[in-house]
Symmetry: D2
Subunit: 169 residues, 4 copies
């Protein structure tokens, strides 16, 4: 994860995504841009040998804020429900380091809501910071638990996701 | 992770990256497109409640194939070296499910080699499959361990990365 | 992790530790028996294929409640301090299952405080339960960061541990 | 995990288990004492901030060598079988540190085989070492997947465990 001055390498034209004319992460995202927030306390073994939360764990934070919302607000039954969500694609851009034992906040919104898929946008905030330490996105495709074929979302689930759609996001 | 028919959702124009005129992952990648391979046995707790390797673990596979190469081929000293690699950005597109206790193979190549950064491309293959179960990329920025400012790569490290550059990748 | 009726297998004489005349975990432990508590929200990938928090993660909870205390109450500097704590031995007995996204509470006390080592006792409680879902212990040996030889604890660290000693525990 | 001189603290009478008249781990265990071995390559994020494999990951190694055996040798169907194994109790004593990217070996044997439970003994060996870096044990209780009541083991599963019973272990 990048810190301090290295953060500036993310300002300006995108370096790494050839053929892409938009920055991979908007520079102006703030806490208020996300309709749902969830506190995520870091754990001892999130830290890697370099003393900060390992890049992989950010995706565990994404999984956690997304699925907790689906379960608690959308009624997703992960144990026996007919429809489950599988990850099709995910992405994260890192701007600042996190360190155990701090408590971070994950912001969640929906960028695109399709018939059987949804594209979430997530940001991770350090306590007291309004600029994200990391920003990413995550695509869920909802499928039938047994056949693993794309399936429509249950109504309650869809309704919970509509609450997170941000116009112009 | 997507399976079966849902895999077809990744064929054709990219759906999710507005403004981007190239697919997020080439459709023709095969084992031979990667100059380095590393076997990665899955672990019991890679499986999540849906019975397959959790999407987060693929990034742990990326970290593992990359850093093992840097240490074993490039002489990176993760315990005391002056220069360390931090992750600036990562991405993964999932095409097929993995299941413990299978042994997967991670393919690694370098898509772009800069002065102090490198963009790796990684694919995860199931045993016997030539088409990847997942494809992703990962950007390392090399920094001074103490100041965390961007730093040039040690010669041995750079040489090891040059061996993985694929022309036209 | 055991649930329901299988929990009764932990009542009565200890089955599995030959030669041992004390139960591996007291049957009467409750929240009030622990001077320190920390909330630990579960994460999506704590769940394993059987739908509950994997047995391994309980040890991550132990590590987290212990080290957060050492850092926040005892001034342990995990990044640069001269003395660090290494795990010499750990143990856990499981009585009930946990499931994402519930928030559990870890109780922490000190069973034995030596010159350079400490034996913590930890219990994990489900929300609303006074009987632990799991009980365990964990031995830290404090060592010099460079030589890894046993070292005395810094005064502030020792003082923080003395606050957790329970007489008759 | 302990290293160097601190290892000697595990020789002689057990320090930490009051009331227990046997050592928590035999001091003479070697590779040949285990009828089954499995190579487990470490991963980048096994390392914690102190530069070595975190104590928690050893339990992930236990889970992996045990369940891989049950699946591959005993026919355990973790996706749909009627009987599953839940962890009732686990333990680990640490003698030496492990570091990514080394490949370790897990040795597995059965110390006690009951009607619906089994007590495994596991040791972790570093490459080239005959003395274990860690020793532990793990109790599985087999239960009905739906009711979670103790259940008899399927014949093939029991037969696979009988192959690991070590007389006098």
């Amino acid at each position: 994860m990048l810190e301090g001055a290295t953060m500036s390498s993310r300002v300006g034209p995108p370096l790494f995504i050839a053929g892409c004319t938009v920055p991979s992460a908007p520079v102006s995202t703030a806490r208020r841009d996300f309709p749902h927030h969830r506190a995520i306390p870091t754990r001892w073994n999130d830290n890697d040998i370099y003393g900060h939360v390992n890049n992989v764990e950010y995706y565990a934070f994404f999984d956690t804020v997304i699925n907790a919302w689906l379960i608690e607000a959308g009624g997703l039954d992960i144990h026996g429900g007919d429809v489950i969500g599988l990850c099709a694609e995910s992405h994260c851009a890192y701007a600042a380091a996190l360190t155990f034992p701090e408590v971070v906040t994950a912001g969640l919104r929906v960028g695109h809501l399709g018939r059987s898929s949804v594209r979430y946008e997530i940001a991770i905030f350090r306590e007291g910071d309004d600029a994200p330490a990391a920003e990413g996105w995550f695509v869920h495709v909802f499928v039938d638990r047994e056949t693993r074929q794309a399936a429509g979302m249950p109504d309650a689930l869809r309704a919970s996701l509509e609450r997170l759609v941000v116009t112009g996001a």
